[in-house]
């Protein structure tokens, strides 16, 4: 096992830069998720780590060893592909044994490791089948089994769950996380799904447009997003964002562009006199007898919680209540905003202003 370091890594396709200087340190045994919207460069970065794409500039190290010039087979890494990339002409057992067969392991050793991996993943009964005879979830497991038998330095996952249905995805999420807790192999995992990132990662790297926006533990990103992009990307339903400025007379009051005033707990000194975005997560609004009046637009009960879109001043705002609420669209409710959890962002730079 080993850590992974990206040092000012860059990548261009022709003159077009896709990775614009990425620095990431991944500790030994860590589960790191690269997350971001389509085209942000996260998959390219993973493929560069795997050796499937050239590195235009910078350095990638695995376990302290620079791997820039090493071909994929010499990097001692295993990858799970989005389409699984199982060899269709080999049985499950042969698929898993392939890498061991290539490096000339003795037959007994191969059998032992394949059986052990099959045991972990519940594939023992499927070892003689061909990939075509498996369901999506089973193929996914075989792809993971192929990675496990090698006992590599690093596991790479490239959007491994995106071909599965919603229910299976949740189950596989837990399986992958459990697998990591058991094997403790350094893992780099790419996804565009922030829920996957939040639920599985030790550390999340949020990428956007070829740069790293923020690196941190899941709840750290949730509670203290560094900028507007991270604030909007992490969290579902997304954070509400309202444009406006602080009241020059009373900086604990935020005045939205439509004139609505909202509370601020500790106004940062840098916020005064600047165009701001008022960021408020949906769960930090509570129903109260008095407070901000808001008109109900849409109610979405899920049983577990109630999501509601309400019109606060001139802006539509999403809020989430744990309790069941008996209101109808068009009615007015009163919201109490938890000012301690309000984030203020500078419009010009997009950065969060810390108090």
């Amino acid at each position: 096992m080993a850590g992974v370091d990206f040092v000012d890594v860059r990548k261009s396709f022709g003159a077009f830069p896709v990775i614009k200087g990425v620095d990431i340190q991944i500790e030994d045994g860590e589960f790191v998720i690269l997350v971001g919207p389509s085209g942000c460069g996260k998959s390219t970065l993973l493929r560069m780590l795997a050796g499937l794409e050239n590195i235009t500039a910078g350095e990638i190290r695995i376990g302290g060893r620079t791997v820039n010039a090493l071909p994929p087979k010499d990097r001692d890494i295993a990858m799970v592909f989005q389409n699984y990339a199982l060899y269709p002409h080999m049985t499950v057992a042969d698929n898993m044994a392939f890498s061991l067969m290539l490096n000339g392991s003795p037959k007994a050793e191969i059998d032992k490791r394949v059986n052990a991996a099959a045991d972990i993943l519940g594939l023992t009964k499927l070892l003689d089948r061909f990939p075509r005879q498996l369901s999506g979830g089973q193929r996914q497991r075989v792809a993971m089994g192929r990675a496990i038998v090698r006992d590599p330095q690093v596991f790479l996952f490239d959007e491994p769950l995106s071909n599965l249905d919603a229910k299976l995805r949740v189950a596989m999420r837990a399986e992958i996380k459990e697998l990591h807790q058991r094997l403790k192999t350094t893992t780099v995992y790419v996804t565009h799904d922030q829920i996957e990132a939040m639920t599985m990662a030790d550390k999340i790297v949020v990428m956007h447009d070829g740069v790293v926006e923020q690196v941190g533990a899941p709840l750290e990103l949730y509670d203290r997003p560094a900028n507007l992009f991270v604030a909007g990307f992490i969290g579902s339903p997304a954070m509400n964002m309202i444009r406006g400025r602080l009241d020059p007379g009373d900086p604990t009051r935020f005045v939205a562009t439509d004139g609505t005033t909202l509370p601020v707990h500790r106004p940062p000194a840098a916020a005064k006199g600047r165009d701001l975005v008022y960021g408020l997560r949906p769960e930090y609004m509570a129903l109260a007898g008095e407070g901000q009046p808001a008109e109900v637009v849409v109610i979405e009960p899920t049983g577990y919680e109630t999501q509601m879109i309400v019109r606060l001043g001139g802006t539509d705002v999403t809020c989430v209540f744990r309790e069941r609420v008996d209101v109808r669209p068009g009615e007015t409710i009163h919201l109490k905003i938890d000012a301690e959890h309000v984030h203020l962002f500078d419009v010009e730079s997009g950065s969060r202003l810390f108090d």
């Binding site: 071909p71 087979k73 592909f81 990339a85 392939f98 061909f130 075509r132 005879q133 498996l134």
Partner: protein, 310 residues
């Protein structure tokens, strides 16, 4: 005015149109007529002629297996059988090896890729007789460009007798056939190569495979179904080849390049022995069926290509 007959016209159409079997028969009729006229009848006639002593200008009578009995003792016929097998075997092996090699090259990211792919098809596009004539010149005993070049380089003293010597003639016609047959193999295998997902190659290289191992364990097994189909066709085309031989050597020298197809023609049309010529042609059928069966049962169907039961 008389009254209109009172039978109620059905809302749809005549009852025979409702019968699927009958309707299906009528739909198949044009294709069936075509097949019967242009495939079944000539084939049937050929088989029938093989059992008669028909000559040009004279209807024959049924003579049973007499033609075949005669051929069984005919040294020239057996030489043609040997020539055909030799020609097919060597040419097919060369076409497969060179075609696969070319396909692998064209599958790489070359500059001007589509230009090269178009060029490769050229030998196949040119009419066979035309390319055969070109080879006739290339293999000419006096003016051959190959002989001339080698003489200019000082490697040989006299022109090579390409088509006059039995061994040289065999090699020459095989070379011409290979040149002509490579594009079909190369382009078909290239199409097959492009259906292999790139991620499989990537997975194999991450699994530690060298280039050769990726070819041996991933590319080749996934290509076998297409190789089977392409090589079956290639073998059939080669086995029944006529035009190249007829233009280049007409079967000579001393029958060294006579294939079954050219011998059949020579005995049947210029020789006038239609029955005997037909018998030679019919004698090709078992070989061709054998080739098809081999590819069908031996190569084409693989367990991993079939779907799962659950």
């Amino acid at each position: 005015m008389t009254t209109v007959p009172t039978t109620q016209p059905t809302a749809t159409s005549a009852p025979w149109l409702q019968n699927n079997n009958l309707l299906g028969f009528f739909f198949m009729l044009p294709a069936a007529v075509f097949l019967v006229c242009f495939l079944t009848y000539p084939l049937g006639l050929g088989v029938w002629l093989g059992f008669t002593d028909t000559r040009i200008g004279r209807d024959g009578v049924f003579i049973g297996l007499e033609n075949y009995v005669f051929l069984a003792g005919d040294k020239v016929f057996w030489l043609a059988v040997f020539n055909t097998l030799f020609y097919t075997l060597i040419a097919s092996i060369l076409k497969f090896a060179l075609g696969l090699w070319l396909a692998l090259l064209l599958n790489e990211n070359l500059p001007c890729k589509s230009f090269f792919r178009a060029i490769v098809l050229l030998p196949w596009v040119v009419p066979t007789v035309l390319s055969a004539l070109a080879f006739w010149w290339i293999f000419d005993s006096q003016f051959s460009i190959i002989s001339w070049s080698l003489m200019q380089l000082g490697l040989i003293d006299a022109p090579i007798n390409f088509l006059g010597d039995p061994t040289n003639a065999r090699m020459s016609v095989i070379a011409a056939n290979v040149w002509r047959g490579i594009p079909f193999v190369a382009i078909s295998l290239l199409a097959g190569l492009q259906t292999i997902p790139a991620s499989l190659q990537e997975a194999a290289s991450l699994d530690g495979a060298t280039n050769w191992q990726r070819f041996r364990y991933v590319t080749l097994p996934m290509l076998t179904p297409i190789i089977a189909v392409v090589m079956t066709f290639s073998v059939l085309f080669t086995f029944t080849d006529f035009q190249l031989i007829y233009v280049l050597t007409k079967g000579g020298p001393v029958n060294a390049t006579h294939l079954m197809a050219t011998l059949s023609f020579q005995r049947g049309i210029p020789g006038g022995q239609l029955g005997e010529g037909a018998a030679i042609a019919v004698a090709m059928i078992p070989f061709l069926l054998g080739a098809i069966m081999f590819s069908f049962f031996g190569l084409q169907r693989r367990k991993w290509q079939q779907g799962g039961q659950d």
